[in-house]
Symmetry: D2
Subunit: 307 residues, 4 copies
């Protein structure tokens, strides 16, 4: 299959859609991003990769980082993790407190904000303090990307904290149900830092390769997580990776994937490849508008699907 | 792969679990079923099939019939169907009215009761009356199963109607939001009739084969629905096929599947096979207890997974 | 106190408000009512009464009839009634199913639709069939009004039934929780009939006098209900008489009162008087717009308040 | 009326109920209170007062303090206060976040926790900082009680703060909706301090007298708030004073009243008297068990009621 041609076609077809949607504007650091940008990279198991657009430009991966922290926590806690967070779709927006109150402070899944906060909290408990936990998260991302230069954008992280009231509210609610172990402020700050990691689509696509190959990086041959755990992470991405548009995304794209409010989406075709796409304008569910369309075009043109 | 040996192993390993769970007891016709029963069939694309247990014994397929009515309605209405029913997981029990009220009478997906009722209603509108609609549904099931003897159990259907208050409530609520076109009583009765269809695991497995092969029966070579629509049906089964345990099921089994309160579950491995399992005792989510375990064992032993 | 002058002042001051609000338009029989109409009557314990406006024109009392059916059911069942219906404000719109599902089919209070349906159902059980129950309700209203000519408007009742899907849904939901004893259709029809009773403000004010005088009509000296039960009916009117605007009404008007979608409101000043007001245009909570203002003006001008 | 005899009778009749219910145990300072205690005081407009039991023993007034902060904020902001907090019963527990999220951070009324936090926040804004605000609140309570010795229990306040996660969550949620102006931690601390005010039933009864006499203390003749605002405070107490048991309380007791988790309840009979009762064991709604019964006995024996 000529992936480069497919990406080139997508690049042309996506142009009229770059004007649509709306860049996240709740913090200045994200609001000032130019919405006409677009990048896409496909990485195969043999290490070959194909890119189009602004694929060398790093962006804020935001919620995509939740896949990395979930992987790390699953590796550490295994099944015990599910005492603190579930694996069901929530059917509600990413930052809703309603279900969390009805369900006694146990978040539905690791990809809604409450779930990701609990995961970060569990990592801080394991690594003893928030500095060590953040370092472990960053090193894990550097490992799977095979790139030591990955870092986070402090301006974005602190800017998020200034607008972090909803996440503080979620964390305190979980604390009131005894499902939070560390300082709420420190944990939310650590969460914002790992969300502020910057990657380009080449790096992001590379970093997801282990999820397409049963937990083992087919290039470095490092095993990051077991086959069975990998399949479960992919299952949770499929059912919960796009908040209350997860069903729509599975329906239209048909691949396990995770999106971030910075406009990135990372997806896997099990046994075959990983894909990263970026375009900053979002649809009404908070997922990249052009990115979602690009992934749907890719599955149509390449025929890949898990279904 | 020696599927017969795998099924035999599963049969042995499942025995201690047949005592667990609880048979549906809301109607006498289902309550009297012996819970020690178990059957499983795998059907491959070449028509070969492997079975174990009570695989010739027919049971009430119940909600599994929603996959057939969804297929039929999707064939007829195509995208227009989505004006009346969504494709998102609901995050709520199968018969909840809460979300339906908040979302103005549009059910989240075709597999919760409200969604399936709207689908049945749409079929009655298309086929002009409830008798024709039921006949069309039965004939479609006979076609995909390649078996003219498929029929429904009238005793079960009328017994359901006697306990049908919740479904009548759901239908009237949708009617109050103008999302119901035909007589509520007639439609609910037709719905109970197609839910009361009886099949054994051999027949059920056979009937799902078109979903494993892009909409086309690989044996008869009849095309029932397009590749793209097939993938979408499978995606909805994965995200919404097991009510508020859909995430758990995707997580543990990793296959598109649909369960019914009669204890049946039908699953597909795209490009490879379809699987049916039956055991009447249910877990707390209303899905077959032993059936769910058997499918998890099958994926572990055979290594099949979409992830 | 010169009540006639107060009413005359209110009549003048209310004129500019008669254009505001919106007549109930969900059934033709109510939609065609001229919104410029206004009437108000005050009846004192000595039988003297003061009126202004269209006080001889009968209108559909609608939900105000729920006070009469509640009185009758309380007389019959006493405390046992509270097994089937509560006395708490619902905090939700009058026809919501959400709380009813969460609270297992027991309505919050007798004045939301679900509660009033259960009350009607209990009266049908007591009087053996729906005809007798309706007759008993009508006779009770005739008794407290001391007027044999009170009747209901069949056109309104049947027109309601044609748009009765939401109420049928509520009733079937309660039936699914075993909190409904009689035929859903017959009971809903009986409910619509007692809601379609027609009274003018003179009659309505007269009919509420027993609630201002501890359950005993001070004119006829008939005792309709005990002092303690009367106080409880008044308490429920105050906390629940205006759906999700009950707090606002208590706050602004400060009297136990019940409104109907036909534009009527009946209120009591315990130990002193009963008041009826009518103006068909409704505010956004479904209560008479001018009627609410008129009652607030009356309490300001007369100084009456329970607080 | 011989109030002393009525109180003596109640004292005897209440004894068997003192064993029932459960003392608030979420903080040690409250958990250690002896549940057999009981006190009741009635204060008339002429300054005469009647007491029974432990009426000189101060207890934590907790949520009863919300009546005082509401009065103060209403005096300062008048109608503008209602942009930030409503006057409707919530129909939900006192610390629920559900409604607050659905209603965009505007609490239903000033007596649920969220509403009281917004009121405290508004007072801090007015008095420039939390120290001045607390001083103003304490001085207001000293004024209406005519007792300079009223103070708060610092141990209780700091103990509450250690278990204050739910309130911090509520405050951050409102902040995320821009309905919170000051530091969340400082405001919640100030809130806990005014909740920790200690009074005995003599003092508490005295402090509520202005609410029974149109906002004017009949003894000192000081006017604390207007007649119209007083009536509205009383209306909100009646409809919202007891969380999700407000309807039950209005139904059984029939007086505007406010309860606190420390076991106190203060009530008013407009134009006649104020009443305070204390007994630390709570019913399942968090209101004093024996206190509620004592007030119901008082209304039966004395015949007072607003209905």
């Amino acid at each position: 299959m000529d992936y480069q041609s497919i990406l080139n076609e997508i690049y042309d077809e996506i142009q009229p859609h770059l004007d649509e949607g709306k860049v996240a504007d709740y913090i200045p650091a994200l609001a000032k991003v130019d919405k006409s940008q677009f990048a896409m990279t496909v990485t195969l198991g043999d290490g070959s990769s194909y890119s189009v657009g602004d694929y060398e430009k790093r962006f804020s991966i935001q919620s995509i980082s939740k896949v990395f922290t979930f992987t790390l926590a699953l590796k550490i806690y295994s099944k015990a993790l599910y005492h603190r967070v579930g694996v069901e779709p929530s059917g509600n927006p990413f930052n809703s407190l309603v279900q969390l109150e009805y369900e006694f402070g146990k978040p539905r899944n690791p990809f809604i904000n409450a779930g990701a906060l609990v995961i970060t909290d569990s990592l801080i408990s394991h690594y003893k303090d928030n500095y060590n936990a953040l370092e472990a998260i960053l090193n894990f991302i550097r490992d799977i990307t095979d790139d030591k230069s990955i870092c986070f954008d402090a301006e974005v992280a602190y800017s998020e904290m200034e607008h972090g009231d909803r996440n503080l509210s979620l964390a305190y609610l979980m604390k009131s149900f005894n499902n939070f172990e560390n300082s709420v402020e420190d944990t939310v700050m650590t969460y914002f830092k790992h969300c502020a990691v910057k990657m380009n689509t080449q790096e992001l696509s590379r970093s997801f390769l282990y999820l397409a190959f049963d937990g083992k990086d087919p290039i470095s041959e490092k095993e990051f997580i077991s086959q069975s755990q990998t399949r479960r992470i992919n299952a949770v991405m499929l059912t919960c990776g796009h908040y209350d548009a997860s069903g729509e995304f599975a329906f239209h794209v048909g691949l396990p994937a995770k999106s971030g409010v910075g406009g990135g989406i990372a997806a896997v075709v099990p046994g075959k490849m990983s894909i990263a796409v970026w375009s900053p304008a979002l649809n009404r569910y908070g997922n990249s508008h052009a990115g979602t369309i690009a992934l749907e075009l890719f599955t149509q043109k390449s025929g890949v699907s898990i279904f």
